[in-house]
């Protein structure tokens, strides 16, 4: 009933328990981290050097000068110009120092080195698609250790903001323009053993993968508490931190830092094309990976967009009042030009995937949607369209 109190009592020590993190900060995962933390500490110590004596002085005054009512004050001095000028100008010098330090580091953080590894980022309500070039897209950000990485970011709808606390890096993603950011990761992700991963996979069978879940995993150096990706990598959190509507707080993904370029390339390759999996399976993967699942359910429940359960081969009522048969052409059109025909009862908010999904990808997604529809004809598409009850949805 009130789990919070219990966990407060139990987990108090975890205040300090983040792996490699200190009290104030997450782990230092990029070359910026040390610099930012240094500036932070600089300001913190200067602030404390003012705050503590000031408060001590105030408390001392309280002890010393609390008098019975009616007692006259010891002094009525009304000003002291030298003193006042000193305490106006003195601290300003420290402020200039803070400003300069902060700006120097800032300029570093604004200027990506030549030849940085470039990843495209597309932010949408409420998810991320990273573009690795050559038609490879994935919701996770995979990069290489010690390699300056530049993100070229755009948004398909509202303002989002990409924030990786471990990298101390953040930048808004404003629709209508490209925004760029860069960083150099300095700590690589670890990968758990295949057996351990297989065990985790089995535990989470059926459910969607829970990145936040902390697993206890046997490694060479004993048991460890880790959060891992479905491929068994440890990761850094990546948040959206500009409020963007309903599922803003769920708009998270992860950063995996590979040890070497070769490792990253292998990962990209493994995720780049269908290979020899079936079209349905590949479609299902893309469906999860490209953010479809954020807005469309496959169990009939209404999310931001219509559910896909039993949708293929059924009739959809459109906002224009017409009915539309859900067939291959309609699905393809809806993926490439989502605003052309909008289902009644929904907002035209879906981003276009034009230029982002190959023909094979789209065909695979259609195959997947067919596979979860009881209305899917066994003959060529469009031949029959019965189920009118469904179309009322």
């Amino acid at each position: 009933m009130f789990p919070a109190i219990e966990s407060l009592a139990m987990t108090f020590p975890t205040l300090l328990a983040d792996k490699n993190a200190d009290f104030w900060f997450p782990i230092q995962g990029s070359s910026f981290a040390e610099e930012v933390d240094w500036v932070y500490d600089l300001i913190l110590y200067i602030s404390l050097a003012f705050f503590v004596p000031m408060m001590a002085f105030m408390v001392w005054c309280l002890f010393k000068y609390i008098k019975a009512r009616g007692t006259k004050a010891e002094s009525q001095i009304s000003h002291h110009t030298t003193l006042e000028l000193t305490w106006s100008i003195g601290p300003s010098v420290l402020l200039v120092w803070m400003f300069v330090q902060g700006s120097i580091s800032f300029l570093d953080m604004r200027t990506p080195p030549e030849g940085s590894y470039d990843v495209g980022v597309q932010a949408f309500k409420w998810g991320w698609t990273m573009d690795y070039g050559n038609g490879t897209f994935h919701p996770e950000l995979h990069i290489v250790k010690d390699e300056p990485t530049k993100l070229s970011m755009r948004s398909t709808d509202v303002i989002h903001s990409l924030f990786v606390p471990a990298f101390r890096a953040k930048k808004d993603i404003v629709p209508g323009r490209y925004n760029y950011m860069w960083f150099k990761p300095t700590v690589a992700s670890e990968q758990i053993s295949d057996e351990a991963l297989a065990k985790l996979k089995k535990q989470s069978e059926g459910a969607t993968w829970d990145y936040d879940k902390v697993h206890t995993i046997e490694t060479e150096d004993g048991e460890r508490e880790l959060q891992v990706t479905p491929e068994g990598y440890t990761f850094f959190d990546l948040y959206c931190t500009e409020y963007c509507g309903k599922n803003h707080s769920e708009m998270q993904t992860v950063v995996v830092v590979h040890e070497t370029q070769a490792e990253l390339e292998a990962w990209i390759k493994a995720n780049s094309s269908r290979g020899d999996v079936s079209m349905e399976e590949w479609g299902e993967l893309l469906y999860a990976r490209r953010g479809c699942s954020g807005c469309h359910s496959v169990d009939g429940s209404k999310l931001v967009g219509p559910s896909f359960l039993d949708v293929y081969g059924s009739q959809h009522a459109l906002t224009t009042g017409e009915n539309q048969l859900v067939d291959e052409n309609y699905i393809r059109e809806s993926i490439l030009a989502p605003k052309a025909k909008v289902v009644a009862g929904y907002q035209p908010v879906m981003p276009s995937y034009k230029g982002q999904l190959s023909d094979d990808d789209i065909a695979s997604i259609i195959a997947y949607l067919k596979s979860i529809s009881a209305n899917a004809p066994t003959q060529p598409a469009g031949a029959e369209a019965e189920s009118d009850e469904e179309s009322a949805e």
Binding site: I5, W24, Y65, L107, R168, K171, H248
Partner: protein, 580 residues
């Protein structure tokens, strides 16, 4: 009212009679609704803003309770996130537009400005009443809009989210627009009052610092609020007509909106804090019974803040992608505002030194103000510094920072002011012990709520999240328990005030030993504030103040009437209606 016990030469107006007293000299609901008396209007504003605060406060508790659990505790179901988003929007919008901005200027300011100035009323009493009704109308409109069809944009209405969401953005912005007019009217009135209605002898540098602060605030209200009005109208035009100024879909630029919005809203945060500075200057000096230290520096720093406040809006957009040069210039300008704020704190501390401090309830609030505001101001340095802001922007660190300033600063000063002037306003004394306990609870609860949020923020917890990663749970829970304590403290303070109305002792004219003019009239003041033209002197000169132990009050000795005009001015204010 035994003037017999007064030493020779002492002045004390004694106690007001039923007929003199502004609360009772006329009765009936209409005598309140159509009153042109700034004191009654101030009191009605006080009731208004406190009600708004109660609503905003309950919403705040809902927010904190929801965050007890990483997956959300308070709201559940498919719409939980939507509800949470609407609740934090409602909370922010109500607190900013209905509480913090009008709280001190409109409620306390209306009551105090003419009395402290030694005037009979504000310059435009009818404008004053209409400003109150605009506030009521705006508030009803705003709250109905917010509660009926909901609003989920956050109080900042950022585009293009606000031009695309299907919640009631238009109604809410119209509400804010109306409230803006109320704010402009109040500011205009104070500027005119202070410029033209000072009695003889009340030179600028004889004005209490609260009046300086109010004056500076009014300048911002009059200059900045129209920009908000225009911005909100443009937002409505964008939503309805797609004029293409903010929405990228029609070739607009969302960052333009941010520039417009913060061009008002940054100065607006100084509308919120400057009057608080004014109150604290009064409280510290009166309850230390000592001349305020560095009067001129404090007065000038208010004006400096008001002007510099217009130059720093860009610091809300360091991560939005302005050019590097612009960003650095805004950072530099931001630091300039911290100097005048720091000067004030130093001056308050120096005022306490060698004073004769009474640890009354208002003084307790003044001390917590110094503690909390200093934290609020210093944490601003982390945000003004570019490298650290990139990490901290839009995290809980910012939430903690502005709550330390707005709540730890403005709200605490407001409470201190209410407790300080309560005997003057209602003519009753409250129970000091209970008043102090409440102040302590508020202080502890506040720190419990917001200190953990600094750590949450620097560890990377983003702001405006309905759910969060489990590693942040402990700190969030600490914060929630702090909020509950804060709620209890505030309720307690409210009860102390209400009980005083029923059981409180009658208040003397000068219970604390203040030298500003409002302590020279009876508590509560007569309809025209003063029976005789008040003696204007240095508002912080405590030499002639004596403690009358028998009657538990302070009295002024040796009346110096050298600055009093020969005769009272001829013109009778319009609302006097020929009455004496």
């Amino acid at each position: 009212m035994s003037n017999a016990t007064l030493p020779a030469g002492a002045r004390d107006p004694g106690y007001p009679t039923e007929r003199e007293n502004y609360l009772t000299n006329s009765s009936g609901i209409l005598s309140w609704m159509f009153t042109l008396d700034h004191k009654r209007i101030g009191l009605m504003y006080l009731i208004g803003v406190m009600s708004a605060f109660a609503v905003g406060g309950l919403l705040a508790l809902a927010i904190r309770l929801h965050l007890l659990d990483p997956n959300g505790w308070m709201f559940s179901g498919a719409e939980a996130n939507n509800i949470y988003n609407q609740v934090f929007t409602l909370h922010g919008a109500i607190m900013v537009f209905l509480f913090i901005i009008p709280s001190i200027p409109a409620a306390l300011g209306n009551f105090l400005v003419p009395v402290m100035l030694g005037a009979k009323d504000v310059g435009f009493p009818r404008l004053n009443l209409s400003s109150f009704y605009l506030w009521v109308f705006g508030a009803l409109f705003f709250v109905t809009a917010l509660f009926s069809s909901g609003l989920d944009t956050g109080w900042t209405f950022y585009t293009p989210y606000s031009t695309t969401t299907d919640t009631s953005v238009i109604l809410a912005t119209l509400g804010a627009f109306i409230l803006g007019f109320s704010s402009i009217f109040t500011g205009l009135n104070f500027i005119v009052t202070i410029n033209t209605m000072r009695p003889p002898g009340m030179t600028w540098f004889k004005m209490p610092l609260f009046l300086w602060a109010t004056y500076a605030t009014s300048i911002i209200q009059v200059l900045a609020t129209p920009v908000l009005g225009i911005t909100l109208l443009l937002l409505i035009a964008e939503r309805t007509m797609h004029i293409g100024i903010f929405d990228p879909e029609f070739n607009g630029d969302p960052v333009t909106y941010q520039h417009f919005f913060w061009f008002y809203s940054h100065p607006a945060v100084y509308i919120m804090i400057l009057p608080a500075f004014g109150i604290i200057s009064e409280l510290i000096s009166v309850h230390s019974h000592k001349h305020i230290f560095g009067y001129r520096f404090i007065a000038y720093s208010s004006i400096a803040i008001a002007l510099l406040g217009f130059l720093v809006w860009g610091h809300h957009m360091f991560t939005a992608g302005m050019s590097s040069l612009t960003t650095i210039v805004f950072s530099a300008l931001t630091f300039t505002v911290s100097v005048p704020s720091a000067i004030k704190v130093f001056n308050w501390l120096a005022t306490m030194y060698k004073g004769s401090i009474s640890l009354t309830t208002p003084m307790c609030y003044a001390i917590s103000f110094i503690f909390l505001f200093t934290i609020g101001g210093l944490t601003g340095l982390f945000l003004g510094t570019l490298a650290t802001d990139l990490h901290l922007h839009d995290t809980y660190f910012v939430v903690a920072h502005f709550h330390y300033v707005m709540v730890g600063g403005t709200l605490i000063a407001f409470l201190g002011g209410v407790f300080h002037w309560w005997p003057k306003m209602v003519g009753k004394l409250y129970n000091e012990t209970h008043g102090r306990i409440a102040a302590l609870l508020v202080f502890l609860g506040f720190n419990g709520t917001f200190l953990p949020q600094f750590v949450l923020g620097s560890r990377g917890m983003p702001r405006r999240y309905a759910t969060y990663d489990p590693e942040f749970a402990t700190l969030h829970q600490l914060s929630t328990f702090g909020a509950l304590l804060l709620g209890i403290g505030l309720l307690y303070a409210f009860v102390v005030l209400m009980v005083s109305l029923i059981k409180g002792r009658r208040a003397p004219a000068n219970p604390w030993g203040g030298v500003t003019l409002e302590w020279q009239c009876t508590s509560p003041p007569p309809y025209y504030n003063f029976e005789r033209p008040p003696v204007v002197g240095d508002p912080y000169d405590f030499h002639n103040l004596e403690w009358d132990a028998e009657n538990e009050r302070y009295i002024m000795t040796e009346p110096e009437r050298k600055l009093v005009p020969e005769s009272t001015p001829e013109e009778v204010p319009a609302h006097a209606g020929g009455q004496k």
